[in-house]
């Protein structure tokens, strides 16, 4: 599948933004009765909403008619894309209310504050799940129609959001708590394992869609493409025919593992031994590396996915 940069930026930026919002909601729910820190809230919620908004605006660049994007809220009964649009607005609304309560609500332990924290957390997780399901619900693309796709969208959103939150804590307080370090490491390890299992399973899965199956002519013998219908690539070939060389894919997977999982994990682990001196630098390094890594991971998610329609154009299988 053609890796559209607008969609890569969308899923990476809004994923991290929703992840950050999720951790802020958990922080509020678990906090005691004292008022929440105003300046940190302003910065952290601000960052979260900037990431989400950049992502959502970027996603409209993928549309042929972005001025009609509002129509996408209507078909939530059947369409995961529509559900994601609706949930993005819900997350904005409840997350925005929660942010206002955080900054101006006085005592942090109020029932209303915690209720909005819970609503924010729930809507964020559901939004990320909907993003994953847009892809996971398509049986035409085997690499996407996989049980780990939606969990990985949620997991990587929570992981990258946590890495961003650590950096915000580093900037704001010069320290990240030991519990937060272990939580971050657990998130990175969990996502790493899930992604490794995902890659291994899509590599091993049988490519069952052949030209014989697609034309229904298998009973007459082997089918070979003789004359294509057109000389130049059409939309189908441009959109679904993207082909990344296996050699490049392997190197890019290694680069994704190093930048998305390994470097952030090492940076986070080093926080355990660190005095305040390097906290900002280490957490920022984790954000930069993780940002590059999630970009590579998302690019591969598209570039490596094969669409069944390409077998009509001579692709051996999908």
């Amino acid at each position: 599948m053609h890796p559209a940069y607008s969609v890569i930026v969308f899923t990476c930026a809004s994923g991290a933004g929703y992840g950050l919002l999720a951790w802020l909601s958990i922080a509020g729910i678990l906090s005691g009765g004292s008022a929440q820190p105003f300046a940190f809230g302003l910065a952290a919620f601000g960052l979260s909403f900037v990431l989400i908004t950049v992502g959502l605006v970027s996603s409209t660049a993928h549309l042929g008619r972005p001025e009609r994007a509002w129509r996408a809220f209507s078909q939530w009964r059947t369409s995961w894309l529509s559900r994601e649009g609706v949930m993005a607005i819900v997350a904005y609304a409840v997350g925005g209310a929660y942010a206002l309560l955080w900054m101006f609500g006085g005592a942090g332990g109020s029932t209303l504050f915690r209720a909005f924290g819970l609503l924010t957390f729930t809507s964020v997780i559901v939004t990320l799940w909907c993003t994953g399901m847009i892809y996971a619900s398509l049986p035409t693309i085997r690499a996407w129609n996989h049980w780990l796709v939606a969990p990985l969208y949620v997991g990587l959103g929570l992981m990258t959001g946590r890495v961003v939150l650590n950096s915000a804590l580093g900037f704001g307080y010069g320290a990240v708590s030991t519990n937060a370090v272990w939580l971050t490491l657990a998130l990175i390890l969990g996502a790493w394992i899930a992604k490794t299992v995902y890659w291994s399973q899509i590599d091993d899965a049988a490519r069952v869609w052949t030209i014989e199956a697609a034309t229904g002519l298998g009973s007459f013998g082997k089918v070979r493409s003789l004359d294509p219908p057109h000389t130049q690539p059409n939309f189908i070939m441009l959109e679904m025919g993207y082909d990344v060389a296996r050699k490049h894919a392997e190197r890019l997977r290694a680069a994704a593992v190093i930048t998305l999982f390994l470097v952030p994990a090492v940076c986070t682990m080093l926080l355990l031994n660190d005095g305040a001196s390097l906290t900002v630098l280490l957490t920022l390094a984790a954000v930069v590396s993780g940002g590059i890594g999630i970009g590579i991971e998302r690019w591969l998610f598209f570039a490596e996915a094969e669409h069944v329609a390409m077998v009509y154009y001579g692709r051996d299988a999908a």
Binding site: M1, H62, L63, G64, R65, P66, R68, A69, R71, A72, F73, S74, Q75, R77, T78, S79, W80, L81, S82, G85, I134, S137, L138, P139, T140, I141, W209, I211, A213, A214, T215, G216, L217, S219, F220, G221, K222, V223, R224, S225, L226, D227, P228, P229, H230, T231, Q232, P233, N234, F235, I236, E239, M240, H307, V308, A309, M310, Y312, Y313
Partner: protein, 244 residues
């Protein structure tokens, strides 16, 4: 609404005969002509340049099938199959993609499509093509603007591809009516669905190539071959003599 309507009794569609199709592209070009010149044309790009391409609703592939004496060329027109439970409709976030309750035709409303391309990802048949110039998805309309046009002569009230086919390889009719000529044709010729595994229940059917006639190829006897050689030598000599 992208929620599918209840199954319609009337299921308009095409039946394509892979035995008689000669791959002449008349269906594809007449489709492009009829659907490309109307109010919502099908865009072309770099028409006079090095990379000419465009939006078409019908594509004709040619495949080699089988080996040796069992080998054959099969021409394979590919367009929207107007599925009974099409995923391209249910994934649409705007309701622009819809299935008509009255006759089962799957259409895109070009005024509400946002061009997200998700429907094209959902279709296993590669039947939908994005129109880059206007930013919306295009697909076969089953020539809905011809088949109900009562000002046309009856023989013209069929899709443009069916009207254009010189070998009668394309048939149009109601596949929901078991007594229709097209349904009987499907039954008689063992018409089949493309990729039924996806469960989208295509309305359009394909008719398989008929079995090949297993007649013995005439074997040229050596004496005939020698005689032919002798005759050829004589005519070559005569030609040489007369050319002097």
């Amino acid at each position: 609404m992208t929620t599918l309507p209840p199954p319609s009794a009337k299921k308009l569609g095409l039946v394509i005969d892979l035995d008689t199709c000669v791959g002449c592209q008349a269906c594809a070009t007449s489709c492009k002509e009829w659907n490309g010149l109307g109010a919502a044309p099908l865009s072309d790009y770099d028409v006079q340049g090095a990379d000419p391409h465009g939006t078409w609703l019908n594509r004709v592939h040619s495949y080699e099938v089988g080996e040796g004496v069992e080998g054959r060329t099969v021409h394979f027109p590919r367009s929207c199959l107007h599925c009974e439970t099409p995923a391209c409709v249910t994934v649409c976030p705007t309701g622009a993609s819809y299935k008509r309750a009255e006759d089962g035709i799957v259409l895109v409303n070009p005024d509400t499509c946002i061009g997200c391309k998700l429907c094209s990802w959902a279709c296993p048949y590669g039947a939908r093509e994005y129109d880059y110039a206007v930013g919306v998805m295009k697909k076969c309309t089953l020539c809905v603007d011809r088949i109900y046009n009562v000002t046309f002569e009856p023989e013209d009230q069929v899709p443009a591809c069916v009207r254009a086919c010189p070998t009668g390889a394309r048939h149009f009719g109601d596949l929901g009516d078991e007594t229709s000529a097209i349904s009987k044709l499907v039954a008689a010729r063992d018409g089949f669905d493309l990729l039924p595994e996806f469960g989208y229940k295509p309305v359009n059917k394909y008719l398989p190539p008929r079995p090949k006639h297993q007649t013995e190829m005439p074997v040229i006897q050596p004496s005939d071959a020698e005689a032919a050689t002798a005759a050829a030598k004589f005519f070559a000599w005569a030609d040489k003599m007369l050319s002097r």
